[in-house]
Amino acid sequence: MPPILEAHDLTKRFELGESSVEALKGVSLAVQPGEFVALMGPSGSGKSTLLQLLGGLDQPTTGAVVFEGEDISHLSDDDATRLRRERTGFVFQAFNLIPLLNVRENIALPFTIAGQDTSRGELRDRIREVITLVELEGKERHRPDQLSAGEQQRVAVARALVTRPSVLLADEPTGNLDYTTGGELLDALWKSCDGAGQTVVLVTHDARAAAYADRVFVIRDGRIRDEIDLGRRPDHSAAPLIARLAQVGL
């Protein structure tokens, strides 16, 4: 099967007036459909930058991102917007939700933005489905500020999944959560991947989170330093990953 998402020798340079920062220095990788991939690395290594390029939020300085066989690295703003709306889903570390809108409305946002009616038919069923998936039944009418941090992040996951995107991209979604709630969120991601075949790319620096993945890329200083193949494991044990990371010196 052809990869659903590929990066070819990506570089990204940020110009800061006089000086510049080279956040990515030539990254290549490929993600297969239905795969759960984690990007790990220390702070400032370029994980978020890479994820943003993969999801069409930003454009690389050189290199290419190929999404379902299409080069998306130089899309017009409108095309990139459509890509985001229809084919990718994002979850960020915090403040994913619009405070004004309730849980259901936040989840329905991608459809609302596209001007679709979510009060009936298939879309309504899909929204109900993802609410069940993230176990938020009964809280549809709650406002974000009436939810716990973990519940808020699950709403964000539900919203990212509701459009059935080709790839779900998550940037440290558990960064603000405690051990248990973080685990619940990861379970939800895992269910969507293992159960519904959702492709997931997860950025984290938590080995326990990365251990949910089939494959882990270790990024350091703008380059991929290692690739660890864990395989699909329902127990998500972090031990093999930690051992391997210790070998690499992380």
Partner: protein, 839 residues
């Protein structure tokens, strides 16, 4: 010191916001300084006119009839107790023969010749000569001319001057040059002063034009006026005093000045909203820095100072720029004041006092607006700096309560700077208006959410999500929105209120004419048409014409006061049902007019003379004759004359003893159902007789056009308030985008287009505009009702000012839409990557 530098950096970090706020202050100060300068200019012009006209005389007796005051009258004045100096003089406008020095005898502009008794006159009038000598005798063939005239027409000391009189030109020698334009009012600098006997013979006069009077010490002008009224019964005269004159001139501009001052105060008020809002936003935005400063050991007092320092910079820069704007506005206003009040206000004269007041008021209001944000800043605790995300309830509360204080501050400052000529009633009115506006602004946060929902619902049909988010954004900081909206509402309300007042004034004028003119068409003549002439009969014979009634307007002097008067046919007014009687019996009164020896007074004249039905007016008609007229009625409104409403007399008295040569107006009433043919026939007949026929509606139109020009100026000022409000909207919308940058980033990340993001802001502005227009109209009607009620003109029939409401609606929508341009671009350009950076 370091903190002040930081304050400066914070202002510089948001250049647009700082610039807009400074501009807002500048516009307020500009309007204030120009209206103050205009008031001062009018005052100065009044003082100068009074000085020029009467010098240091305490009273002036002016001739009413062409022939002037006879020697007997002048003598009677001299002999009156309490009068120390009586200086008779003659004033005539004429032309000069070509000066001997100049080649051709081309036509020149007119000059004003004043004939004086040099000794008496110089006791009451100052004359500053730049060259030559003064007049010495009452019959020497010499003249003094003004410097301006000398320059314009090329005269020098010793030149010969030829005055065109009633007969042969009189040749005089220029023996002195008076400084500048000279002391003769209305001469536009072209004045010639000659001995009184020279003027008398040049113009072939018996009497003099006027007698200026200096009173003995300790004598009251009122007593002397009474004594004069007893003695001068043989000739009509008009008595005036400098105080009367000044008061009259001031009164003619008082309403104008009061309204200008009111609108200026309101522009400043709106400007103060902008300041409170901007500084609060800045403090909210900088809460983290302020918290860090506090954590680093800055005291509360230092934080307060730090915010006030920022305000001071804005206040000083804005006020200084405002003075420049004020000069520009002032020169524009001076032009319209001259055109509107017919009074030469010279605003161009730089008035240091009003500039200083405007500057200080601008700075003071900026500081007053900064106090509350400064207190908020001082309340920020060091802990706030540690919070990951700032949601500062402390900076979002109680700003409106503060507004009341700013209101009081502005009101007090406005009263201090209130032009004295605008009068106390003007101040009452201003406070009333002000209070309505404040109440409206304080009420906005409560009516905003429901109104926004109702008015936003049509938008929701097209752009549901954007409408929802826009409304949410408006609701997020209610006091900020209230201030922004309040400014818009105040500006639009002023437009509606002024429009309503203007409309009521127009309607009143229209109704007035309809009430007093017994006709549909007014036929005017430039020469008096005598009773014997056939024209009236010819007009009346036209098919479809029911009645033609002759009217003449003229002046009467009663007890030294000048009144407008009109001669009418009482029977015609009775048949046509014109005039509203307050006192007296209508039919009897109008019939009495035709019999003769009777007069009907308009209410103002009745009050001024203290006369009622049954009293008698004794008119001196000159040459020793008098005419007694019995007051038979008092009417609410009468035929308009040059300076007021006319006293109505019958034709028998007018053509007889009073000597009115004929009618200058015919009022023509058509038969019911007479078609346009009748009107056309009338107009043709009128044209053939060298008369001008105008429908009453056109006459009314001319009156209301003049009113329209006055109100046009006020509208322009109110527009400045809307402009200031628009600046506030730019600030608020831009701030909304900055604050929601993260939210917009998320929306863009999940697929919102740039267009949608910018539309969100445009929708927000549109809702603001819709709410502003509705509230502006409602509040404007409230303010208009207060204005009309206080000026006693609130009548149910005034009708709503739909045109002004429409204008307010258009401005309410267009203003915010234009203001949204920049913030919406800002929203569409939010960088997703940057927005999502964890702050």
């Amino acid at each position: 010191m370091g903190l002040d530098r930081l304050a400066w950096r914070i202002l510089a970090a948001r250049p647009l916001r700082t610039l807009l706020t400074t501009l807002g202050v500048a516009l307020g100060v500009g309007v204030l300084s120009s209206s103050l300068a205009m008031s001062a200019g009018i005052e100065a012009a009044v003082d100068r006119t009074v000085r020029d006209v009467v010098g240091s005389a305490d009273l002036r007796v002016a001739a009413f009839l062409e022939g002037g005051l006879s020697e007997a009258t002048v003598e009677a004045i001299r002999m009156t107790d309490g009068i120390e100096v009586a200086a008779p003089s003659i004033e005539r406008r004429t032309f000069l023969g070509a000066p001997v020095t100049s080649a051709g005898a081309e036509a020149r502009e007119a000059v004003t010749v004043v004939g004086i008794e040099p000794v008496a006159w110089s006791r009451l009038h100052e004359l500053e000569l730049v060259a030559g000598a003064r007049l010495a005798r009452i019959d020497e063939p010499s003249a003094l001319i003004t410097e301006s005239l000398a320059e314009a027409d090329g005269y020098i000391l010793g030149s010969e001057l030829r005055i065109q009189g009633h007969d042969q030109p009189t040749t005089l020698r220029v023996i002195g040059i008076i400084a500048g334009p000279g002391p003769v009012a209305g001469a536009a600098g072209r004045a010639v002063i000659v001995p009184v006997d020279v003027a008398r013979s040049a113009f072939g006069l018996e009497g003099v034009t006027r007698v200026d009077i200096g009173l003995a010490d300790g004598v009251s002008a009122r007593d002397v006026a009474e004594r004069l009224a007893e003695r001068l019964t043989l000739e009509p005269y008009v008595l005036s005093s400098p105080a009367d004159l000044a008061e009259g001139l001031r009164a003619s501009t008082a309403d104008f000045q009061a309204t200008t001052a009111l609108v200026a105060a309101i522009v400043l008020f709106v400007g103060s909203f902008l300041i409170v809002n901007t500084l609060s936003m800045t403090v909210g935005e900088r809460a983290r820095e302020v918290g860090l400063l506090r954590a680093a050991g800055a005291t509360r007092a230092q934080v307060v100072r730090f915010v006030l320092a920022g305000a001071l910079v804005i206040g000083i820069a804005g006020s200084a720029f405002g003075l420049v704007l004020g000069l520009l506005l002032g020169s524009l206003m001076a032009g319209s004041v001259r055109a509107l009040t017919g009074f030469p206000a010279e605003v161009s004269s730089l008035n240091a006092g009003s500039l200083a007041v405007a500057f200080l008021v601008g700075v003071a209001i900026t500081i007053a607006g900064a106090v509350e944000p400064a207190i908020q800043a001082a309340r920020i605790s060091p802990v706030e700096a540690l919070r990951a995300r700032l949601d500062l309830p402390a900076t979002r509360r109680a700003r409106l309560g503060w507004l009341a204080l700013v209101f009081v501050a502005v009101a007090i400052l406005a009263l201090l700077a209130w032009p004295p000529a605008a009068g106390a009633t003007g101040a009452d009115r201003a406070l009333g208006v002000y209070a309505v506006l404040l109440a409206a602004t304080l009420a906005t946060p409560f009516v905003l959410p429901p109104l926004a929902r109702i008015l936003g619902s049509p938008l929701a049909a097209f752009v549901r999500l954007e409408e929802r988010l826009a409304r949410g954004s408006l609701a997020r900081d209610r006091s900020r929105t209230a201030l922004t909206l309040g400014a818009l509402v105040v500006g639009l309300a002023m437009i509606v209120a002024l429009g309503w007042t203007a409309q009521a004034a127009r309607n009143a004028a229209t109704a007035w004419l309809a009430d007093v003119v017994p006709g549909d068409e007014v036929v005017t003549s430039i020469r008096p048409i005598g009773p014997g002439e056939a024209i009236r009969g010819q007009l009346a014979a036209i098919e479809g014409v029911r009645s033609v009634t002759p009217i003449a307007t003229f002046d009467l002097a009663i007890r030294g006061l000048r009144f407008d008067a009109a001669a009418i046919v009482g029977a015609d007014f009775l048949a046509d049902g014109r005039l509203t009687f307050i006192d007296g019996e209508r039919a009897a009164a109008l019939r009495a007019l035709d019999v003769g020896g009777a007069a009907i007074l308009p209410l103002p004249a009745a009050e001024r003379l203290g006369l009622g039905v049954g009293d008698t007016i004794s008119l001196a008609l000159g040459a020793g004759t008098t005419l007694d007229l019995r007051v038979v009625g008092v009417v609410e409104r009468s035929i308009p004359g040059d300076g007021g409403e006319a006293i109505l007399v019958g034709w028998r008295d007018a053509s007889g003893p009073i000597g009115v040569p004929g009618a200058d107006v015919f009022a023509v009433r058509f038969e019911d159902g007479a078609g346009p043919a009748a009107r056309e026939a009338l107009e043709t007949a009128a044209r053939d007789a060298a008369l001008e026929a105008n429908p009453l509606s056109r006459v009314q139109g001319a009156v209301t056009d003049a009113l329209g020009r006055v109100f046009g100026l006020f509208d322009a000022l109110a527009l400045v308030a809307v402009l200031v409000a628009a600046l506030g909207i730019v600030n608020t919308l831009a701030m909304g985008v900055v604050e929601r940058v993260h939210e917009i980033g998320v929306l863009r990340a999940i697929g919102m287009t740039r267009r949608q993001a910018s539309r969100m802001v445009v929708v927000e502005a549109t809702i603001l505009g819709l709410v502003g227009a509705v509230l502006g109209a409602v509040v404007g009607l409230g303010v208009g009702a207060v204005l009309l009620f206080l000026s006693g003109g609130l009548v149910a029939s005034a009708g709503l000012p739909w045109a002004s409401i429409a204008i307010a609606a258009v401005l309410g929508l267009a203003g915010p839409a234009i203001a949204a341009w920049y913030p919406s671009r800002l929203a569409s350009r939010v960088s997703i990557v940057r927005a999502l950076k964890f702050e």
